[in-house]
């Protein structure tokens, strides 16, 4: 087995009296694409927020690349090589794409050089938009800029929060193609609320329901899992 990249043990989070996550255990290996599914409000984004340091957990431990990262600030976690995107696309809208990328380079310890950035931009099919204002791009282009800004930092793990959200069906295919190629460059953790994307990309799937891990395994097994059917998928013909 390859190296463990991300390891969460008993991660819990409460907001006031509401329990958002209950003792989540999760292991992701280097090079393994992990998908997380569950309905809205099941705690997927909360989980990513805990890992990336945007939220502090109430209990549990998180290790990344051999080191404990809980209690660290997002910038420290980012510099350690763990990056993420947001559910709603988020770029510096008033700045140009070039300035956006420049910002990503400024405090990344192992950032790419100029040639590497160009190569990545061309691979992401966004190189020709470098002088455009990021906020004026289409949603797909903004998602591509978002990926570019993460990848120029040469992260070890990228966590994608609903990467195809809001895209049209044609654009979804483009994005899935990009993500499929991305697998060879970087380890991916992807959140979706439908199985569609996960089925095509993920090696392993974690199902979250009401803050608890309902099941974990390869996509095919998950679809056949009786607990998942009973509590999440329901009778397919309903």
């Amino acid at each position: 087995m390859t190296n463990v990249l991300l390891e969460a043990r008993g991660v819990s989070k409460r907001f006031g009296g509401v329990v958002a996550l209950k003792g989540i255990d999760l292991v992701q290996h280097q090079g393994e694409t992990l998908g997380m599914i569950g309905p809205n409000g099941s705690g997927k984004t909360t989980f990513v927020n805990l890992i990336s340091g945007h939220l502090k957990g109430n209990s549990g431990s998180i290790r990344f690349d051999g080191r404990s990262i809980e209690g660290r600030n997002p910038y420290q976690i980012a510099q350690a090589g763990l990056t993420r995107t947001y559910q709603a696309v988020r770029v510096f809208g008033e700045l140009t794409v070039r300035e956006n990328v420049g910002t990503a380079l400024v405090d990344a310890p192992s950032a790419l050089g100029q040639d590497g950035v160009r190569e990545l931009a061309d691979w992401l099919r966004i190189g020709h938009r470098f002088d455009a204002r990021a906020g004026g791009l289409t949603l797909l282009e903004q998602r591509q800029v978002e990926l570019l800004m993460r990848l120029v930092q040469r992260p070890k793990l990228i966590m994608l929060d609903e990467p195809v959200g809001g895209l049209s069906s044609v654009e979804v295919r483009v994005m899935i193609a990009i993500l499929a190629e991305l697998k060879s460059r970087c380890t991916i953790f992807v959140i979706e609320h439908t199985m569609k994307v996960i089925r095509e990309l993920a090696d392993k799937v974690v199902v979250l329901l009401a803050g608890e891990k309902l099941a974990e395994g390869p996509p095919a097994d998950i679809l056949a899992d009786q607990r998942v059917i009973d509590r999440y998928l329901g009778n397919i013909d309903a």
């Binding site: 910038y75 770029v91 420049g102 910002t103 405090d107 310890p109 100029q114 204002r133 004026g136 930092q153």
Partner: protein, 336 residues
């Protein structure tokens, strides 16, 4: 994107700005010198130069970092009182100036801490409260500040030879301060620090996600911005010869903000122009003290009405906002 390319783009940036900067330097020294025959006009020019130092600092915070501290004048006041008290107790003004400015920087950095937790309106409101507390403090610690009465007949600093420095010579020191202030601001905006501050202004959470230590750089911005406030404050006291809590109250903070917003925040020369227009205007209206308040109030409202979207979200270049795509995106957002 590599270091070498960013240094080349840096030097070309400097070339682009060298012309205006040269012109500004010449004017900053020449105008007070040319006006030295008329002490009143030279004085107006000197006060304008002090305000250029202040607007540069406010611009760093408001224009480039996206923070709106309405306690800016209070911080300047801390430095002014410090420098005056130290000078009165026998220190050389030239030692008291950096000490006072440093004290203001440290105070400004500490008072800027709430900006780490509070966003937008809440931080601005908090800074207004802090400004009110500082003003009350100036009144309350009367043994240091002489309370509401204020400290008058503050002498100009001693000259290296003997006696005090002449007012026209002090004008040139103010010109130097204004030029240095603008050069420092240009240098910061062209540096990696500038990139980080702009990223924080645009979206601090995203900036932190990209590895930028937002806490550290917000504090850095406050330290430098407060240093500008402090240098201006320490120079202001002997130049005017009189300070009181009213010299550094919330109205002054508002007016410095107004000069930055009126001229165009997040640009180098806009706030300079704001000071050059509004400071002489306030002298023109000096005799109509209350009318001045009304006119400044109207100006504030005019600035807000003419750029309604830009106050909170930092720099919004108006030319860009009229692009059809951007307008469409705004409409889409509005529709949601």
């Amino acid at each position: 994107m590599t270091d070498s390319s960013s240094t080349t783009s840096l030097s070309s940036d400097w070339k682009k700005i060298a012309g205006p900067l040269g012109a500004f330097t010449i004017l900053a020294f020449a105008i007070p010198a040319l006006l030295s025959g008329n002490r009143y006009l030279a004085f107006v020019a000197g006060i304008t130069l002090i305000h250029i130092v202040w607007t540069s600092g406010m611009n760093l915070l408001y224009g480039y970092t996206g923070l709106m501290p309405l306690m800016f004048a209070g911080i300047a006041g801390i430095s002014a009182y410090f420098a005056v008290d130290l000078t009165a107790s026998g220190w050389s003004f030239w030692v008291a100036l950096p000490v006072g400015a440093l004290a203001a920087s440290i105070a400004g950095t500490i008072l800027g801490l709430p900006s780490l937790r509070l966003k937008g309106f809440y931080f601005t409101l908090c800074s207004l409260v802090i400004q009110t507390v500082i003003t009350l403090g100036f009144v309350y610690f009367a043994n240091l500040t002489n309370g509401d009465t204020g400290i008058s007949q503050i002498p100009l600093p001693a000259a290296p030879g003997s006696g005090t420095i002449s007012a026209p010579a002090f004008d040139l020191i103010l010109a130097a301060a204004a030029v240095i202030g603008v050069v420092v601001l240009i240098a910061i905006t062209r540096s990696a620090l500038g990139k980080r501050l702009i990223a924080i202004r645009e979206d601090d959470e995203l900036a932190e996600m990209l590895g930028i230590n937002v806490t550290r750089y917000k504090m850095t911005a406050f330290f430098i911005g407060s240093l500008f406030a402090g240098v201006g404050g320490a120079l202001y006291a002997p130049y005017i010869g009189f300070i009181s809590p009213r010299s550094f109250d919330v109205l002054i903070s508002m007016n410095i903000w107004l000069m930055v917003a009126f001229g165009g925040r997040g640009t180098i020369w806009g706030p300079v122009a704001g000071a050059v227009i509004l400071v002489p205007l306030s002298f023109l209206l000096q005799e109509y003290y209350t009318v001045k308040d009304v006119i400044y109030g109207l100006l504030i409202i005019a600035v807000i009405v003419l750029m309604p979207g830009g106050i909170a979200s930092g720099l919004k270049r108006t030319t860009r906002a009229t692009e059809p795509v951007a307008a469409g995106a705004a409409e889409q957002r509005g529709a949601k």
